[in-house]
């Protein structure tokens, strides 16, 4: 819209002020605090404070048998429940050294991408409120509802899906799921353009996001930021493509990467990812439709896991999530460690918001897509 005024931090001799944003603050989506030090309106320092939502998740897993952890893994993140239970099942399957049936793989892909789209829509809704526009919020929520309905069709629950099982998935596609899924995706691809017209074609929205919170490739790599935030900074890496798991190597899709590294690039990457997810859903559904109805979708697996350490990682909607399992030969894990993408991404809050204005803080932190369930565990 107009050139960005150059901000010189040392030019104003004003007293600095600490503004506590959170835990009960409209900008913090979840229970966390960002301690922001401001010089006038310009942010000079920021410190994220998390841990309000610590539930002892990892410790609690040690007292449960392996199948009982799946619904718990759902609760790690309310909007990416499918990917979290997926990665848990993947880790245990690695430990058991089983190869799941093809149909289960594709079903997992479909569920994963539905989860990714609805998670990104949840994020888009939050971006709307953070930038002060409720229309984006409600439109994104409206679109999200269709994908939640797909979830209901597939596994009976809206958000905490509890769908993957160790050795496959819980059930095959239900009647008419493929038809509804195709319709939903097709419709969504059209409707997403409405939101893009509302946001990207508006110079107010774009000027709020463009040019702020610029990070370089090196900074992102050093900070350990993953996911769309990383790809918005020019790092071309996506686990789905570069370290494929569960049949993603058979899918043909593009990984959106932008070099700008500002907030708008992070926004664009997520929007583009939604289109790519639609493409992946379509391909995976095609493969499922080509399979006979009687194809197996679940293996029987032993309840005890042999001794050893294993890890698996996958591309969560928010970044790279990883689970590390130490098994001692019993039917309960000895230790289950979670690497949450947001836990790492939010530690980059300081370089992200430094030099921005206080009004930019919600816009910048919205692009992290906070989810406290997985961060505090």
């Amino acid at each position: 819209m107009m050139p960005e005024p150059e901000i010189k931090l040392d030019s104003m001799n004003t007293d600095r002020m600490t503004v506590i944003m959170g835990p009960q603050h409209p900008f913090s989506h979840g229970l966390w605090t960002l301690k922001v030090e401001v010089d006038g309106e310009i942010v000079t320092d920021a410190e994220p404070i998390i841990g309000y939502l610590h539930r002892g998740w990892e410790k609690e897993c040690e007292n449960r048998t392996y199948p009982k952890i799946i619904p718990m893994a759902d609760r790690l993140c309310y909007s990416a429940s499918m990917t979290w239970s997926h990665i848990y099942c993947m880790t245990v399957e690695k430990a058991l050294d089983v190869d799941i049936p093809d149909k289960a793989k594709y079903l997992r892909i479909v569920a994963d991408e539905i989860c990714r789209i609805q998670s990104h829509l949840m994020w888009l809704a939050a971006v709307g409120t953070d930038l002060g526009n409720l229309t984006v919020f409600l439109w994104a929520m409206r679109e999200r509802e269709f994908f939640l309905d797909l979830n209901v069709r597939l596994c009976g629950a809206r958000m905490t899906t509890n769908y993957p099982r160790i050795g496959g998935v819980r059930n095959d596609t239900t009647e008419y799921f493929d038809r509804d899924c195709m319709r939903c995706v097709e419709r969504f691809e059209k409707r997403l353009w409405d939101i893009i017209a509302l946001v990207d074609d508006s110079s107010v929205f774009v000027s709020r996001m463009q040019g702020i919170s610029r990070l370089t490739r090196e900074q992102v790599a050093n900070l350990g930021v993953t996911g769309p935030a990383m790809r918005g900074c020019g790092v071309d890496f996506d686990i789905r493509r570069d370290d494929p798991y569960d049949g993603y190597d058979e899918m043909d899709f593009e990984v959106p990467v932008l070099k700008e590294g500002d907030t708008y690039a992070r926004y664009m990457v997520r929007i583009e990812e939604m289109f790519q997810s639609c493409e992946i859903i379509r391909q995976a559904m095609k493969k499922i439709q080509d399979m006979p109805r009687s194809a197996p979708y679940r293996l029987k697996v032993p309840s005890a896991v042999p001794e050893g350490t294993h890890f698996a990682r996958l591309e969560d909607p928010r970044g790279e999530s990883l689970m590390y399992l130490i098994s001692d030969g019993t039917d309960k894990p000895y230790r289950l460690k979670v690497r949450s993408p947001i836990f790492v991404n939010v530690s980059a809050a300081k370089p992200m918001v430094q030099g921005c204005r206080i009004a930019d803080v919600p816009a910048v932190m919205a692009m992290v897509d906070m989810c406290l369930g997985e961060t505090d565990r």
Binding site: P5, G132, S202, V204, I358
Partner: protein
């Protein structure tokens, strides 16, 4: 004493025959109504007193010119306030419904197509605890917000709805309204300091920042209209537009700029920086609880109404319609209110579409876009004026 004697006490006169008539030689409809209502009520009371105590002086005093005038003025204020109040509540309802439809939802459903939502909200805020935080500067905390609300209601009531519906008909009416309209940001700034809260402080500062960016183009624009009409009197401006054309035709740049400035003036999206809820919780209103917050909310809508009404008066011919005028005073007030709601619809549309701008951006917009546009508009008008078109 018979009941027919009641007619001796209840008699209706023309208020303009009253030597104490406050509006000079101008006819005032709400005053007329108020006058007749009091002549009826006061006459009834006087008759009753006279029934009990025949021949007393109180009864004749009650229907004397002075007393009828005083009570009629009180009723007149009530009528003016109620009409503006209901008009504002209707615009609030309009925002809820239209915004809802634009966001693909139905909007409020509480009674009578959602109109009773205002009542529900009022009751809710009224019944909330009136919290005054311990560490605020209590005096300043109270008087600033009272003045923000007070000035907003005052100017909303001062806007004339037609030639016959006005509170005062000053020759400098427009100037007074603009001066009062621009007062609120000062109180917001002081209130931000008084609340001893960082969010409020930043919000108050932003109100000041906002004001210096839109106030100057807005005053230039109003000056331009005054130049074109040749009068500060609102009625004169409206009639000048009826005699020539609505001013949005020659001043289309000015109209658009004024629209955005008036959004900033009434602190609505995209210029609601002072209460930006995403980063500042509720901005300068953070520490106000219960009915205080409810009244601030209401004052916001009063300001929105004033901003729209000013736009209608300055650029869209006020209560007149082109060609037919006000049809010998056939409900020009309704025409005016409808135009105001139409303007308000545009504001709702903007709110549904745009995001909140940043503080440095509003300064840029104010100084690099609005001010030059206002000056260009002024130049066009000066040229037209010298060219003898107007």
């Amino acid at each position: 004493m018979s009941y027919s004697s009641i007619l001796e006490w209840i008699t209706f006169h023309n208020p303009m025959d009253n030597p104490f008539y406050p509006f000079g030689d101008l006819y005032n409809l709400p005053y007329d109504w108020a006058y007749k209502i009091w002549e009826f009520l006061g006459g009834l009371v006087a008759w009753l007193i006279n029934l009990l105590f025949p021949g007393n002086v109180v009864s004749t005093w009650l229907i004397s010119d002075q007393v009828v005038n005083v009570f009629a003025l009180l009723l007149f204020m009530l009528i003016i306030f109620l009409v503006v109040f209901v008009g504002t509540l209707l615009s609030l309802w309009e925002e809820r419904k239209v915004l809802g439809r634009m966001m693909d939802r139905r909007g409020t459903q509480v009674g009578l197509k959602g109109f009773l939502q205002c009542v529900a909200d009022g009751l809710k805020t009224f019944m909330k605890e009136n919290v005054v935080p311990k560490k605020v500067d209590k005096m300043t905390y109270m008087w600033t917000v009272s003045l923000v609300i007070g000035t907003s209601v005052l100017i909303a009531c001062m806007i004339p709805l037609s030639d016959r519906w006005f509170v005062v008909s000053y020759d400098t009416g427009l100037l007074i309204i603009m001066a009062l309209f621009a007062l609120a940001p000062f109180f917001i700034l002081v209130s931000g300091w008084a609340q001893n809260n960082k969010y409020s402080l930043i919000g108050g500062m932003r109100a000041a920042e906002l004001m210096i960016s839109y106030e100057i183009p807005m005053l230039i624009l109003i000056g331009t209209v005054i130049l074109m009409a040749g009068s500060f009197n609102i009625s004169d401006i409206v009639h000048a537009q009826y005699d020539t054309v609505w001013y949005f035709i020659p001043q289309v740049i000015g109209m658009i700029t004024f629209f955005w400035c008036s959004i900033a003036e009434s602190e609505r999206v995209p210029f609601d920086l002072a209460e930006a809820e995403a980063e500042l919780v509720e901005g300068w209103q953070t520490e106000y609880a219960g009915m205080k917050w409810g009244l601030i909310m209401l004052a916001d809508y009063f300001r929105g109404y004033v901003a729209c009404a000013m736009g209608v008066i300055l650029y869209f011919g006020g209560w007149m319609l082109p060609g037919i005028g006000d049809l010998n005073n056939a409900m020009p007030e309704i025409v005016f209110l409808l135009k105001t709601w139409l303007m308000f619809f545009m504001m709702i549309w903007v709110r549904a579409t745009l995001a909140r701008v940043r503080t440095d951006q509003i300064l840029n917009i104010g100084w690099k876009i609005f001010t030059p546009l206002a000056v260009i508009n002024l130049l066009i008008v000066v040229l037209l004026k010298f060219g003898g078109v107007f």
